[in-house]
């Protein structure tokens, strides 16, 4: 079989998901072609082990993201099963390519094996959908759900110019006014409690949160005592949240707090008291002072590929 990977666009080099897509393609067997829309990184891409061909696409339409003109410009270069990373742009482009080719798209899969057998979480992770599909489809794969392929390849690089025109115009970039993610919408929440000692230590949580793309929450005790915004409060009288990951830092786990977060899919607790009730609901508990554990955790997160 043949797999075509559409690389996620990146200013410089290749996006970390590309090597993961290559590894997924190798798992399916057959040849692997990488299309690089606009952008750069064809050299790096050709060095990923398992890549057979790299094709860089250039042209006016690649000056900014326009899924529809991109998919039109690629349609003749695509062979076989199409893989993309399930980033927002990848999903939009993947859906457009599938419609261009008149085939199905299966989004956000977390497992892919020959056959082609796929798994994807549905109902916000409350269930898993298991699918078998023909090779004639577009698949987007959730970033970091597959081990990346190694370097060490040397694929042939070609390039192609597209005459497709772009149909939307970017007027201006709006500086993102460090907009904070709301706890009720976040996939990941990192919350602090009295154990942090002082309101100023919430900055440390903010740092980890910005690395993870997480929202920062708080227990009622600190919202009341340290005058934090009520919108941050998780618990009985605050928000009831069900993120994929909830990290409780210096929160003992009073029943009122647990009421607001215990349905989170995974819970990590950092607390120096080994008997703190929060450990009863934690999937991963770290018995340590947050001053030591949080930086260590942050470093480990930053070190992830």
């Amino acid at each position: 079989m043949t797999v075509t990977i559409i690389a996620e666009q990146q200013q410089e080099g290749t996006h970390p998901t590309l090597a993961q897509m290559v590894s997924a393609a190798k798992g399916l067997g057959g040849t692997c072609k990488v299309i690089i829309p606009g952008g750069s990184g064809e050299q790096e891409a050709s060095n990923i082990s398992g890549v057979d061909k790299v094709m860089k696409m250039t042209g006016e339409c690649f000056s900014s993201f326009d899924s529809q003109s991109w998919s039109s410009s690629m349609k003749n270069s695509i062979e076989g099963t199409v893989l993309l990373a399930a980033t927002p742009a990848g999903r939009e482009l993947g859906a457009s390519i599938a419609a261009e080719l008149g085939i199905s798209v299966i989004q956000d899969v977390t497992s892919i094996s020959p056959g082609i057998k796929l798994e994807r979480p549905v109902y916000s992770g409350k269930a898993i959908e298991n699918l078998t599909t023909s090779e004639n489809c577009v698949i987007t794969i959730r970033p970091n759900s597959i081990e990346a392929a190694e370097m060490g390849g040397s694929a042939e690089i070609t390039s192609q110019d597209s005459t497709e025109s772009i149909r939307l115009a970017v007027l201006e970039a709006i500086a993102k006014a460090s907009e904070k993610i709301d706890v009720s919408e976040a996939d990941i929440i990192i919350s602090g409690g009295r154990g942090l000692g002082d309101a100023s230590n919430f900055e440390k949580l903010e740092e980890v949160a910005s690395t993870l793309g997480a929202a920062v929450g708080a227990s009622r005790a600190v919202v009341d005592e340290w005058g934090l915004p009520h919108s941050m409060q998780v618990g009985q009288t605050g928000k009831t949240v069900t993120p994929a990951l909830y990290i409780a830092v210096g929160i003992s786990g009073a029943i009122q707090h647990l009421a607001g977060m215990r349905s989170s899919r995974y819970i990590v607790a950092i607390n120096k008291d080994p008997d703190a009730p929060i450990f009863a609901v934690a999937d991963y508990g770290i018995v340590a002072s947050w001053e030591d554990a949080l930086p260590a955790m942050h470093d480990a997160i930053k070190a992830l590929p």
Binding site: V105, Q107, A127, T132, L171, I286, A300
Partner: protein
């Protein structure tokens, strides 16, 4: 101007999902709602109704129960309602083809949809419909300013927010919108029930309702999580991080 809003009825996000025989047991779902991002799309269309006098057409595809979401849309102000009836699984391309056909038949100049539905979390519909109609698509939109035939929208990208301009006809896929959702009003609810619904079948839209290349599908519960694990000391942090990545798959 005519704005078509694609709305999907999904189990309320607080609903408990029970599975039996490889399928979600719908009888256990107490509450169905319009998928949250679709609500922002609808709100934006209603803004266009106010600002430029757009006619708002709500279109849904699904089984009989889905018509309730049309009534909900009418209750907040949708002018026309279209229900494409279909039971059971359907491939993304067939679904998009049917929706695109309905959009053509109502004569819409702009399509608004949510960026993804809260049940399947896929996020294919807006972009696929755009392709079939051969209209441009702007994704992850949070705000649209409409004037006759021209739109300026705020969309989110990896780099941040940007303002883009695009002309009609076109498709928008909504992220969480900037505008507050309106609360339905009782009078609207009473009138909504009386609003006629245009019914279509896949057959009269001339769409092959096959499941695309998907030959098998079933739903299962997520794997049981391992029992809680406790680690001693800050030095265990990297271990926990790697488990979050490999075991839990959440970062």
């Amino acid at each position: 101007m005519k704005a078509a809003v694609l709305i999907k009825q999904v189990p309320d996000t607080t609903a408990k999902i029970d599975i039996s025989g490889g399928e979600v047991d719908e009888s256990g779902i107490a509450k169905w709602s319009i998928s949250p991002y679709d609500e922002y799309a609808l709100e934006s269309a209603l803004q266009m109704q106010k600002d430029v006098g757009a006619t708002v057409v709500a279109i849904t595809l699904g089984p009989d129960r889905a018509s309730k979401s049309l009534v909900d849309a009418a209750a907040v102000g949708a002018d026309e309602l279209v229900h494409i009836s279909h039971e059971g699984a359907i491939g993304s391309f067939a679904l998009q083809t049917a929706l695109a056909e309905a959009v053509k038949r109502v004569g819409a100049d702009v399509v608004l949809a949510g960026k993804q539905a809260a049940d399947t979390n896929a996020g294919s519909t807006a972009s696929g419909v755009a392709k079939i109609l051969n209209w441009p698509c702007v994704g992850l939109v949070s705000k649209i300013d409409a004037s006759e035939g021209e739109f300026e929208a705020t969309r989110s990208t990896v780099a941040g927010l940007e303002r883009v301009s695009v002309s009609s006809p076109c498709v928008f896929a909504f992220d969480k919108g900037e505008d507050k959702l309106r609360i339905p009003n009782v009078r609207g609810i009473m009138m909504a029930k009386k609003k006629p619904v245009q019914k279509h079948t896949m057959a009269d839209l001339e769409v092959d309702a096959s499941n695309g290349g998907i030959t098998e599908s079933s739903v299962t519960y997520p794997p049981q999580k391992p029992p809680g694990q406790k680690f001693e000391g800050a030095s265990s942090a990297p271990e926990v991080v790697s488990r979050l990545r490999d075991e839990a798959n959440v970062i």
